[in-house]
Assembly symmetry: C2
Homo-oligomer: 416 residues x 2
């Protein structure tokens, strides 16, 4: 069973979690002076509207009309009851997922990409730079800038640039220019941290350009809250008072935040972050100020981190390979409002294939972390004989990750 909403029911305001956090957010610090940042410090990289959102404590922020028009190209996304998965598990739990894979870029990432591109265009900035690992975020920004007639330059982690050409082709189909990173070390395989450094340097050095980040920052999570706001409406249509637990995979925190933040004020709703055992930022990192990139060009953020020089192993869930985490998600975990668990890759793919063979859709490796946790919650409900309502974020499809499935099915996958 699926619950859709008409396209005039895309939320018209974003939900700002800032007033609802268990403790105030620590301010970002200037990378040179280590003093709290002012809006002017960020102006070379971001438009003022986004800087204001980054620091806002207003409970709701209006979605501009042109952004609504773009979101309506694929939103509202469906809420789906995973009846067939429930039956296969024999669980009394009711499992729902919010299907963000229906966007043209195949994930939740365009929710913020269209908003960021819009505000930059409004401020007269015709060109955006960004980084991308496996390509989810880069393709979302390429999509958004194509719709608004803007230029887009994507620095793509060199290892992915060579091994995953199809995401590059997607970005080029939408008219973006894609370059392997690090640009000045042609033999280096690169990392997300080094690609951020390249993209920030480019934007800071050109008057016609700004930089755009696909996760981590407050305004990014803000734009993603359309996910959770729609899910609340749709759960009501499905006759559910509230979910018992809300689950999302967590790299930088954007899909998890998008679904979970609107539930933060609902004290009886558990929130659960799921990360890879090989990049266990929330479960094993330290809570501290750290840089967002490798080169130390970005502001210092207060977050869980494995250290900005940490190089995560090459797992298939490229979108979860990040040394740090969103300050908002870190705040929620730090103060006990959200739990975090970590899973090794092998059990994640067990869940992915079980999902594909019951519900019919092939999930992204990142998304499969949330599926693994949802299945485990449902199995616990079965053991306990409780009717638990589980909601998870189906953040993206796996149609550009089939190599990972081939590795898994043929026994070549590193299970750790």
């Amino acid at each position: 069973m699926r619950w859709t909403l008409p396209s005039d029911q895309v939320p018209t305001a974003w939900f700002n979690v800032a007033p609802h956090l268990p403790a105030p957010l620590d301010p970002p610090l200037h990378p040179g002076t280590r003093q709290p940042l002012g809006p002017d410090d960020l102006a070379p990289l971001f438009p003022m509207a986004l800087i204001a959102q980054e620091m806002s404590t207003e409970p709701w922020i209006d979605v501009p009309g042109p952004v609504l028009d773009l979101l309506r190209l694929w939103r509202p996304t469906p809420l789906v009851r995973a009846h067939r998965l429930e039956q296969a598990l024999g669980t009394p739990a009711r499992i729902y997922y919010k299907d963000e894979s229906v966007s043209p870029a195949g994930s939740h990432k365009p929710n913020t990409a269209v908003a960021q591109a819009h505000y930059n265009k409004e401020e007269g900035v015709p060109r955006l730079t960004t980084e991308t690992g496996a390509g989810q975020w880069g393709s979302a920004l390429a999509f958004a800038t194509a719709l608004l007639g803007m230029e887009c330059k994507v620095y793509m982690v060199r290892a992915s640039f060579g091994q995953k050409p199809y995401r590059r082709v997607m970005m080029e189909t939408w008219g973006a220019t894609v370059e392997a990173s690090p640009v000045d070390e042609p033999d280096h395989p690169g990392s997300l941290g080094s690609a951020i450094s390249d993209a920030v340097r480019d934007a800071a050095g050109r008057a016609d350009s700004h930089y755009s980040l696909g996760s981590v920052l407050n305004h990014v999570l803000l734009h993603q809250t359309v996910i959770g706001l729609e899910a609340k409406e749709q759960l009501a249509l499905a006759g559910e008072e509230r979910p018992d637990v809300v689950i999302g995979s967590c790299g930088g925190g954007s899909n998890l935040g998008g679904l979970a933040l609107p539930f933060v004020p609902d004290a009886d709703v558990e929130l659960l972050a799921v990360e890879p055992a090989s990049c266990p930022t929330l479960t094993e990192g330290r809570f501290d100020y750290d840089f967002g990139d490798t080169a130390g060009l970005t502001p210092l953020l207060s977050m869980y981190t494995l250290g900005h020089d940490f190089v995560p192993p090459s797992i298939h869930a490229g979108g979860l390979r990040y040394h740090g985490d969103s300050p908002i998600i870190s705040n929620l975990v730090r103060h006990g409002r959200m739990r975090a668990v970590a899973y090794p890759q092998g059990t994640v793919f067990d869940a992915a294939v079980q999902f594909a063979r019951t519900q019919g859709s092939i999930p992204a490796p990142e998304t499969s972390h949330a599926i693994r946790a949802a299945i485990d919650e449902a199995l616990r409900a079965k053991e306990e004989g409780t009717e638990r309502v589980i909601l998870f974020s189906y953040s993206g499809h796996g149609l550009l990750d089939l190599q990972a499935y081939d590795d898994y099915l043929s026994g070549r996958l590193d299970a750790s």
Copy 2:
């Protein structure tokens, strides 16, 4: 703007065009005797329920409840108004498309796959065989059999098996077994005709198996009519009395038929088939009895054909590389109820990229034939200054066809 429908509004009966055709269909002939086939001749390959549908003249045929449950995993699909494409073209035409790409297999093909798998399971047949070219149909049947707990064996054209591994991985993720065809000539690149021969031989030789075909036959087009039936409802919601023209790409005829057949009784609605210039079955073929496969194992069908030994050039729209055509589509073209046009591959990809950069979605090469024709209809409306309502079938996405886009963008595409 998008029009969705709640999942309890999936059509509960298929539309049978047989009573509305301009002339009765010629019966299929036995390949040996060349006499009209009886139901018993088809029983080794198909369940009786499908054979009855193949020959039925009832105006409506009920969709069984278990099939409805499966269709509701992704249906009703959205109807989308292509506002941004209209603006880019500066046309007074209103362009709508029915988005079948949202199915888990990425195309319209699962509409018939779930029905065919269901009827076979009901008759106690636990295993299906089929052929696939680029992999759209094979993946749809693998998806459907996974949902029903059946076995599936797919014979995949050897050239695609080697060059397009990701569709194979999709099928394997859903649990199907995939083998390169022709099985007895390991150096032959294969063709759709030869893969059909392999799949038919397999099914005919095993008591536990039937064969399943993804296009051409009457029951396949019948199952696809949910597309057009939903589109009629959604056009009414959009405030349109009727479309002026309904457009679909045409290989075997299943997506075109699915959208267009429910409009056949509406005499003032034009119907338009779009095919590749390199495989011009409807525009340059002869109307005659011919085999569906290369080896001459299938019944003889009355259709437009380029000859069952015709080997289409290797274009990217693999789903349109078929020597013959659906008898129903052939009947409509033969008797003037439907027009046909052919386009070379270069102009088709021009349209595909224009669509991706305005509407945001990357279409399959097959689908892009319909987009090319829709754009040309909209440009004609602009010239004539008429408010034409154009409806086309967005039969699938191009996320597993990005190699073709890379060829196009880098100037390597054969434009013919």
